[in-house]
Amino acid sequence: MTTTQHPPAAPASRRATPLSWIRAGGLSKLLFALPMILVFAIFSWTPIVRSVVMSFQKTNLLTPAEWVGLDNFQAVLNDPLLGTAVLNTLYFAALALVMGFPVPILMAVLMSEVKRGKGVYSALAYLPVVVPPVVAVLLWKVFYDGSPDGVFNTILGWFGIGPQPWLQSTSMAMPSLVIEATWAAAGGSIIIYLAALLSVPPELYDAAEVDGASIWRKAWHVTLPQLRGVIFVMLILQILATAQVFLEPFLFTGGGPANSTVTVLLLIYRYAFQNSLGGNYGMATALSVMLAGFLAVLSWVYFRLTNRWSTS
């Protein structure tokens, strides 16, 4: 559909001169496109290309970059910490799925069934999302105080459970990060599921009742299948987010204790910005490119699916 103001395409394309282009409104169009073109060119397209280029180079900002082939990739793959970081990231992602994924679905279904108080419930559920993530992590760090008088240990004490070391122990550090991350993110997911529940056609429930379906059967055979698409999208989004987890390990533990919470992104950060020998930008970009390749496939699948669902 053509919405252009002047229909210049046909004659102008035959004899395109700068003047005819301006007369056809080309200049004002370009003027509107310019902010977008400029910021994307400088801060998005070029860096993306440069990232791939840099992963094959040795750069130190002072001397010109030199090509080193696959050396960076080799160095990353030979880093003994890489395996730890990948396993930790997978562990974080798996724990986040087990602990955090079903909770918002359950909460949203319950919240959509109550007649009164839905507004208050959604607001309460969303509150943690509004807290700035840095504040949330620093506050939870206080909660996780390992002394018997720590906030969580006091609560455990009420139930007769002894104090836990939380962030100080290699086995409990990662679950502690996941609990906080789940708390911080659940509200957003609940709201999305609530919106999705709204779009379940009421006729489906009516029809199920005609067939004599109980509440459980309706939930199982109508609600869940109707939510399937959203659930899958949320699954991919959560995997994308957890694969790039940085804030929690960086602020809670700095990767410790004994590297038990070093994640892939933390490793990239260390290569580039916490290197006593100066930033190893080559290794950092090499690892980013490998992670990005994996994630790009996931987000492509995600986009295809959302696009299909939104047009259907």
């Binding site: 919405t3 993306i48 840095v134 939104s310």
Partner: protein, 333 residues
């Protein structure tokens, strides 16, 4: 990311789910008009007939109790504790974290945090960062979407795919090269590095494909007759943009604004990298940095101060927030 595409900070699970909003904005709006909020659905799993059964009624009471208790404990609990601890002396917080002021209230924590550890300054920095990020994002998103949706120059298709393609690139790949771009900006050179310049935060955040997609879809669904009528009446591209398109786009501009301000307020890793000078850093970067030299009670007061604005914004614009967050539901519309 939604709002995070430009900022290399890892996309937190909290902000990610906003992406599916891309799906459609106008159908959403239409639905939203019929059902102004999440709170009134026509019916759910439990029918009115079910609700008349005493067993179901008891169960629903149970659901109410369960929801109230968990949501108050999880949603409000930590914030209430923070509010209490912000005005409690350190020793009380450490020894009896749940006692309500056994040794009195210490209001001085708040003023100490505000002036002595310069929370006032960092607070101001945060506001400047959020305001600039908001302005740049709005300008780029509206002009860009206007080009792609209404003006449609011949290169629009290519431009559109190039912008959309960045949605598939995880923000992590941008981290290092974008940082080097800031240190050594193209054309300007190393002597004009953008380190410690707010432009280093504002501009990359403006390169946000998600915003453009959101606004473009909205523009695509505006009534073409209005645009064509304005053009027949002789409105040029600038007039059309300013007097016709923008006034019709308030709902989507509200959504983009919420996303922009919240994303800027939350951002941590990127400002940490490009704003090394403490004098220009926002709260999110300063709070972890001052923790070790600050007494616990004052630190908790600082955390409380940093939370007030986002919470207040949420309480005031609750509907916009929840609708923006719920836009994700549109993917299955």
């Amino acid at each position: 990311m939604s709002a995070d595409t430009a900022a290399p900070a890892p996309v937190s699970a909290a902000t990610m789910p906003s992406s599916p909003a891309a799906a459609s904005s106008v159908p959403e709006r239409r639905r939203a008009r019929r059902k102004p909020s999440l709170t009134d659905s026509e019916r759910g799993i439990v029918s009115d007939a079910d609700r008349r059964q005493p067993r179901v009624r008891r169960a629903m009471t149970g659901v109410h109790i369960f929801l109230s208790v968990t949501l108050v404990l999880a949603g409000l609990g930590p914030l209430l504790w923070l509010a209490k601890a912000a005005v409690t002396p350190t020793q009380d917080t450490l020894r009896q974290p749940f006692a309500l002021w056994p040794n009195g209230i210490d209001w001085a924590n708040l003023s100490t945090a505000w002036s002595d550890i310069h929370i006032d300054q960092y607070f101001f920095n945060t506001i400047v960062i959020a305001a600039g990020a908001w302005a740049f994002q709005l300008v780029v998103a509206t002009t860009g979407a206007y080009t792609l949706s209404v003006l449609r120059p011949r290169y629009a298709r290519v431009l559109n795919s190039l912008v959309l393609a960045t949605l598939f690139i995880p923000s992590v790949v941008l981290l290092v090269p974008l940082y080097l771009t800031i240190v050594d900006p193209p054309l300007l050179g190393r002597d004009h590095s953008l380190l410690n310049n707010y432009l280093a935060v504002w501009l990359p955040m403006a390169a946000n494909a998600f915003n453009i997609l959101l606004v473009k879809r909205f523009f695509d669904n505006l009534p073409r007759e209005v645009i064509e009528a304005a053009q027949t009446d002789g409105a040029g591209p600038f007039r059309l943009f300013w007097s016709i398109i923008l006034p019709m786009s308030r709902p989507i501009l509200g959504v983009v604004s919420v996303f922009a301000i919240i994303a800027a307020w939350k951002d941590f890793l990127w400002p940490l990298l490009v704003l090394p000078d403490p004098a220009v850093q926002p709260l999110s970067v300063r709070l972890p940095a001052v923790q070790s030299q600050t007494e616990l009670d004052v630190f908790l007061a600082a955390l409380a101060i940093a939370t007030i604005i986002p919470i207040a914004m949420f309480l005031i614009f609750q509907r916009v927030f929840l609708r923006s967050a719920g836009l994700g539901g549109a993917v299955k519309g």
